[in-house]
Symmetry: C2
Subunit: 205 residues, 2 copies
DNA sequence: TTTTGATAGTTTTGTTAAAAAAGTCAGGAA
DNA sequence: TTCCTGACTTTTTTAACAAAACTATCAAAA
């Protein structure tokens, strides 16, 4: 029975990988269950044996990506000399994550307003984890005595994450799209680092 | 001939007012030229005598609103003791502007990605004006010696305006919509003021 | 110069049929 | 019992097209 579950898990993993590739290259609406099944040389019906429906499959891929992302954060975020390094690291990892999965998020751009609740649960889960980790970093820094004590570290980190999230390219007379274009990601990343620099200074004595 | 132009201007003004009301209550796509004409007890054809088409009419209203907004900024922005007051004032006025014209911007939410170029020209014009005014305030503050000199004040102000623009409500497990809902505007406003506070401190010695 | 009724042209909306894709299921293989 | 499939049903997307609603134009009147 344990062996059976192992095998099942491996198969699920294979399906997730194939799905990831398809979603990454063609986006959600342009990949069909038949194509994913074809890539794996299995029947479409088998996909439905492992996953209840297409959206759940997409969500499973997303959950996997999110967990990988959070894993990297958790593994490194304790190891920094100071708060700024922690935020810079988070922003760098986040940047890499978005760049390498850019097309995967076509789904977000298309549905925009009304995404399924489960998606939002994952987004919120990631956000909460980021918040907790960075909040901890803030507290550590306060104990070190290099920044002023604050009432509510969570609120503070939330504010900075929001502000960072809002950074868009807008080099004057440029249309600011609400979802950044791939070619602007580097510029946005640079601006984020600058914001972090100033923000953290604003917290110091 | 001068009198004729006066009369024409008054009429144009009346049309803009009526259009503003309609756009404010029902949004762009839900107001028809017939309705605007009806409100003014004139024929629809006359609207086309004064304005080339519907989108130009909307844009004319928007330009008027923008100019009013910029006027307030220009009139007051020289009168502040310090940089923070200037930014707080800008943010407050901006907040009031959005709150009182909220439904007018339905047009933005609907078209989202592909707004006509003329709209973007106005947006950029407003942004440039804000940038210039606040940039001047930064330079003044540097001369006063209360903040550190910076390479490029424009870039700095742009960064803060971007960051402020990105502030969204997100009180955990809340869906972050890209266009803020009316009921969240106050909370967003408060967060903006907090960000300004920290950001400006980050610029000080 | 200003205004309008009539009308031309365009976009939106609604309907329907065909095609494509999602999703189900009885039953066979391991 | 678990894993898997072909054939099938249901749902969604697409295309074509007519009706309705609305934008935009224009000759002619005030």
């Amino acid at each position: 029975m344990a062996a059976g579950n192992d095998h099942q898990d491996i198969k699920r993993e294979k399906i997730l990988e194939a799905s990831h590739q398809r979603f990454l290259h063609y986006g959600y609406s342009k990949t069909t269950m038949n194509e994913i099944a074809g890539d794996l040389s299995m029947s479409k019906a088998l996909l439905y044996y492992y996953f209840p429906d297409k959206s759940q499959l997409y969500i499973a891929v997303m959950r996997k990506l999110s967990n990988d992302y959070l894993k990297v954060l958790e593994d490194h975020l304790d190891t920094f000399k100071n708060l700024k390094e922690a935020f810079v690291f988070q922003t760098n990892i986040h940047h890499d994550f978005i760049v390498s999965n850019y097309n995967f998020f076509d789904f977000f751009r298309l549905n925009e307003q009304n995404l399924p609740d489960t998606i939002w649960e994952i987004v919120n889960q990631v956000h909460s984890a980021e918040l907790a980790l960075l909040s901890k970093a803030v507290k550590t820094e306060i104990e070190r005595g290099s920044i002023k004590p604050v009432d509510n570290p969570d609120e503070l980190v939330d504010l900075l994450l929001d502000a960072l999230h809002g950074i868009r390219v807008g080099a004057l007379s440029q249309k600011k799209t609400n979802f950044p274009r791939k070619e602007h990601l580097e510029e946005i990343h640079d601006k984020k680092l600058l914001l972090i620099d100033i923000f953290i200074k604003g917290l110091m004595y």
